[in-house]
Structures are given as structure tokens and as C-alpha cells.
């Protein structure tokens, strides 16, 4: 059964230095507030796992939380580079970061295998790609019936996965809908799972009996964080703040400007202040 607790407490309990951590969200429902709380708590040596590390991982990497990144596409969607990630990779600032680089298909299959309790995933991929050359975690398995050689990657098994969802009921059952990415898989693949939600409701009222619902007993903590996915979006609650994504490009290009932005928008804003979870929309230069 999931505990419904403040975000600070959930991060304190389930995120530790050295952990393998997945904050998932495929453009939609990105758990920004949770990532910023991890930054405030000063976690270090994290292995960050995510198909599409975007602004929140750029912030965590820029603040030195991570020693390794497992990913398949690291950019600012529709805008360009993640400058803090690039600075870490290209110049080791603020610390070097090890990369384990995959394709989306590989990561999606690896999360699926993790959720299914399998040790690896087989798929038809990496055909002729140099990624095989630089990533020793890309292997081959042979179909015992046809002899076809398929790519294989290890299952992803995070210590803790964190996602943001639209709502939970009072028992801690969680519903998410819209673009759901690999969030269900990330939660089910992890030892512990934290879900931040827009709201707690009496009745989850799934729109369909087959809606994406995560039972409370498959989750450790639910935290009420309205706006906790901003500047990404929560389908049915608020839109994506595209301006904030564009603005991040200039903020993140310069180390000092980045640090002062973090100081103002993350460190001066406790997670328990609901408004603080939406700093981008309040404060970003336009």
C-alpha cells in the first residue's frame, strides 16, 4: 500500500546517494517537482535512467547529482541541446558523467522486461548501428526456432522510479492517461516507486475499465503536488509551457546564469509551497 506523504518525505525515504533512479515521462507528465526536490536534498552519484532526459535531468546533472546517465535521446524537445548535459559530457562540469546510450526501442523494451521481471529483452534493432560498438550492454540472442539473431539489452531495474500522474484515490491507487510513455513499466520495474499527482479524489472514476491504473500496492508513496509536471503538461489539467522550454536554452547555456536560476527557482522554493512547484511559469523571462 502506498503512503500518501509530502514530497520531501518520499524523496528522503526512497532516494539515496548512489541509487539507480528513473524519473520517467515522455514529454507529458514529467516529474519536475520531484526532480527539484532531489536537487534540494543534495543527492549525489545517482545513475539517472530515462529514455528522454530533458530539462529536469539537465538541472539534476548541472547540479552534480548524477555520475551516470542511461538514455536514448537527450535534448530539449523542439528546441535543441541540453547544455548542462553537454557541459558534463564535453567538459566534465560540474563532474564527469558516464553514458550508457541506447535507442528508444532498446530502452522501451528494457523497461518492459524490467516490469515483467525478466533479465533481458530481445528485439529487432541496432541493425548496422555504431551504438553496438560503444555500448557493451548491447548483446545478441539467437532465436532457437528460426536462427535469427536479435539484439538484446539488460532489463532496466531502478532502485526507485518516480512518475507524475493526474490523480490518486485515498487508498493511493493512481490513474494516468494521455501519452503514457513507459511510466507504468518504470514503476513496475523498480524496487520502489513514488508518484506525484495533481490531486487526490474520492473515486478514481477511470474513464475506461482498461484505463492505465496502478494499484496502490504496486507503489510506495503518493505525493500531492499540483502543477508537479510543469513546465511539461498534465493532460486534462494544464498545457505544456512551450515558452519555458525555449527560455531554458539561454538559461542553461551559461554556468553562472544556470546556477543563479537554480538558486532563485529551486533552492529558494520549498517543495511544500505549492506555488514553488511551478517556478517556470511564474518567473521565466519571456
Amino acid at each position: 500500500m502506498a503512503d500518501i506523504v509530502p514530497l520531501e518525505e518520499a524523496i528522503l525515504r526512497f532516494v539515496h546517494d548512489g541509487d539507480r533512479l528513473a524519473l520517467e515521462g515522455f514529454t507529458h507528465l514529467i516529474p519536475f517537482a520531484a526532480g527539484q526536490e532531489i536537487i534540494r536534498q543534495g543527492r549525489r552519484d545517482l545513475t539517472l535512467i530515462r529514455m528522454t532526459p530533458d530539462l529536469i535531468y539537465d538541472q539534476m546533472i548541472g547540479m552534480g547529482c548524477a555520475s551516470k546517465l542511461i538514455f536514448s535521446w537527450g535534448g530539449n524537445p523542439g528546441v535543441g541541446s541540453l547544455h548542462r548535459l553537454r557541459d558534463a559530457v564535453e567538459h566534465g562540469w560540474p563532474r564527469p558523467i558516464e553514458l550508457e546510450e541506447h535507442s528508444h526501442a532498446a530502452m522501451a523494451n528494457a523497461f518492459d522486461a524490467g516490469a515483467a521481471g525478466l533479465p533481458f529483452a530481445a528485439f529487432r534493432g541496432y541493425v548496422g548501428s555504431d551504438l553496438r560498438r560503444v555500448n557493451p550492454n548491447i548483446a545478441t540472442v539467437v532465436c532457437p526456432f528460426t536462427g535469427e539473431a536479435l539484439a538484446a539489452v539488460p532489463a532496466i531495474r531502478p532502485d526507485t522510479s518516480i512518475i507524475h500522474a493526474q490523480r490518486a484515490d485515498r487508498d493511493g491507487n493512481v490513474l494516468l492517461e494521455g501519452i503514457v510513455g513507459v511510466q507504468k513499466q518504470a514503476v513496475l520495474a523498480a524496487t520502489h516507486a513514488i508518484v506525484t499527482v495533481e490531486e487526490i479524489v474520492d473515486d478514481l472514476a477511470p474513464p475506461s475499465v482498461n484505463a492505465v491504473v496502478l494499484p496502490t500496492w504496486a507503489i510506495d508513496a503518493v505525493c500531492v503536488v499540483p502543477g508537479g509536471a510543469r513546465p511539461s503538461y498534465a493532460f486534462g489539467y494544464y498545457d505544456r509551457d512551450n515558452v519555458a522550454y525555449v527560455a531554458w536554452d539561454a538559461i542553461s547555456r551559461d554556468r553562472d546564469r544556470f546556477l543563479s536560476w537554480m538558486d532563485e527557482h529551486v533552492f529558494s522554493a520549498p517543495a511544500s509551497d505549492p506555488a514553488a512547484t511551478v517556478p517556470h511559469t511564474r518567473e521565466l523571462p519571456r
Binding site: 515522455f26 514529454t27 507529458h28 529514455m51 528522454t52 538514455f71 536514448s72 535521446w73 537527450g74 535534448g75 524537445p77 523542439g78 528546441v79 541541446s81 541540453l82 548535459l85 553537454r86 559530457v89 564535453e90 546510450e101 541506447h102 535507442s103 528508444h104 526501442a105 522501451a108 523494451n109 523497461f111 518492459d112 528485439f123 529487432r124 534493432g125 541496432y126 541493425v127 548496422g128 548501428s129 555504431d130 551504438l131 560503444v134 539473431a149 494521455g178 501519452i179 503514457v180 510513455g181 513507459v182 507504468k184 513499466q185 492505465v212 503538461y233 493532460f235 498545457d239 505544456r240 509551457d241 512551450n242 515558452v243 522550454y245
Partner: protein, 257 residues
């Protein structure tokens, strides 16, 4: 000659949209491909199926998305599936007829680099990475490539093969284990190239006002031209109006947020 009444980027998008047939199922990337695919849908291919890697199938956005997972893609889709399902049941299973790719470096064989410039371990420029591209390149029936024409983009040899095109020529793709056709067409802001028997992109049509010399100077390999080189048909009024309306709607929508 006088400047044409359209931009090079508009010409590229329109030329790309013409590559799409009404019964295509397209795996759409952000940027030029998204504009081209939706333009085709608004013009000659109303029933074209647009699939975005975020899981949206049969999406009909009124405005172009800024990201691959905008809410607009989901709310106008026939259905939205998980990302593992998208890559397993829809892409890997061979249900996509045309995939669009771009990249920081593209060579004459359609090999694409979106990973790194310089050595992998000590990169000069760390690019975003492969994302969906390695398997889009191998699983779609056919791959269309779009790029802004420049020597640093259309290079003699990509420094890192993120996504396989035709390797170093005939037979390489099959030898690597691929059973699909691979890149067939490269659409740039200067011309349209198609793959010849040597599995190399050669220019088959020049956009209005573009010279052979401009293309040669903007291409990082000794580019060849087909013997029956033609001029890309100029954008029609309908194409231009539809594209500009789409982009104006898009700008208004994104500025409002």
C-alpha cells in the same frame, strides 16, 4: 532572377509532403517531417495515418506540435498506446510504410549521425542521440531523409553511424541484417535526391532558382546529378497557403501558452 515568393524551408517542406501517398502510414519526427506530413494530410492525402513515437496513432493535429508528445497529438489521435507498444507492435512489426529521419550528419549512402561529433569518448559536440532513429531506419518499409543543405550536414562520411542507411554501398544493408529498403529520398532546401543503383543519393530535381553549382558547393561529397535532371515543380498556391495557414495557427497557439 527575382526571389521566388516562398522560402527555401517552405520549398523543402512542400517537396517532402509530395513524397507521401494517401495510403501511407508515417512515423513522423518533429520539425520539417511533422510539417510535411501534416501538409500532405491537409492536401492530397487526407486519410494518411500519422504515427508519432510518443504513442499517438492516427493523429490529426490542428497545429504543429513543438515536441513529439504534445497534448494536441493525443487529443486528436485515434488512439494512444504506450511507448513499448509503439516500438514493438507498430514499428518493429513492420506496420509503418514511411519513416522520416534527419540528422547532424548524413552521408551519400543515407547513413545518419545523431550521436556525436568527434571521438565518442571525447566528443567535440555531444548530439542528442539516436532516439527512435536506429529502428525507424531498419523497420519502416522506406525511409525519407530531410536536411538543410550544407557541407557540414551532408558529409562525405558520417563520423558515427547512429542509423544505418546503405552502409558503403550495395549489399551492405542486407549484410547487416536488414530486410527493408532503407533511405530512398533526400529532400533538402535546394533539391530532391534519390538513391541510385550504387545506393548513393543523386540529385534528381533542383528547386526553382537553385543551380547545380550551389548544390555542389553545399554538398560534402562529390555529388552527382541524374542525366534527366528536372526542376522541382514550384509550390502551388494551395500548397503555400495551406502550409502558411498551418504555421500561422501553430505560432499563435504556441505563443499563447
Amino acid at each position: 532572377m527575382t526571389a521566388p515568393a516562398w522560402t527555401a524551408a517552405e520549398m523543402m517542406t512542400i517537396a517532402a509532403s509530395r513524397q507521401l501517398a494517401p495510403d501511407d502510414v508515417c512515423f513522423v519526427g518533429i520539425g520539417a517531417p511533422s510539417a510535411a506530413c501534416n501538409l500532405a494530410r491537409l492536401l492530397h492525402a487526407p486519410d494518411i495515418v500519422l504515427v508519432y513515437e510518443s504513442g499517438t496513432i492516427g493523429t490529426r493535429p490542428d497545429v504543429l506540435p513543438l515536441s513529439i508528445g504534445d497534448g494536441e497529438l493525443c487529443s486528436t489521435a485515434l488512439t494512444t498506446v504506450s511507448v513499448p507498444e509503439m516500438f514493438r507492435y507498430w514499428l518493429q512489426a513492420g506496420r509503418i510504410t514511411k519513416g522520416f529521419l534527419g540528422g547532424a550528419q548524413i552521408d551519400r549512402y543515407g547513413n545518419i549521425n545523431t550521436t556525436v561529433i568527434g571521438p565518442y569518448d571525447r566528443p567535440r559536440v555531444r548530439l542528442p542521440g539516436g532516439g527512435g532513429a536506429p529502428e525507424i531506419a531498419s523497420s519502416c518499409d522506406e525511409v525519407l531523409v530531410t536536411a538543410t543543405h550544407a557541407p557540414r550536414t551532408l558529409v562525405d562520411r558520417v563520423e558515427f553511424v547512429t542509423s544505418l542507411g546503405h552502409g558503403r554501398g550495395p549489399g551492405d544493408r542486407r549484410a547487416a541484417g536488414s530486410t527493408t529498403v532503407g533511405p530512398t529520398t533526400l529532400i533538402t532546401d535546394l533539391c530532391v535526391m534519390s538513391v541510385d543503383a550504387a545506393r548513393e543519393f543523386v540529385v534528381e530535381s533542383l528547386h526553382v532558382g537553385v543551380t547545380r553549382r550551389e548544390v555542389v558547393e553545399a554538398t560534402g561529397w562529390p555529388v552527382r546529378f541524374v542525366s534527366d535532371l528536372v526542376s522541382t515543380p514550384a509550390p502551388t498556391d494551395e500548397e503555400l497557403t495551406t502550409l502558411r495557414d498551418l504555421q500561422a495557427r501553430t505560432e499563435r497557439a504556441h505563443a499563447a501558452r
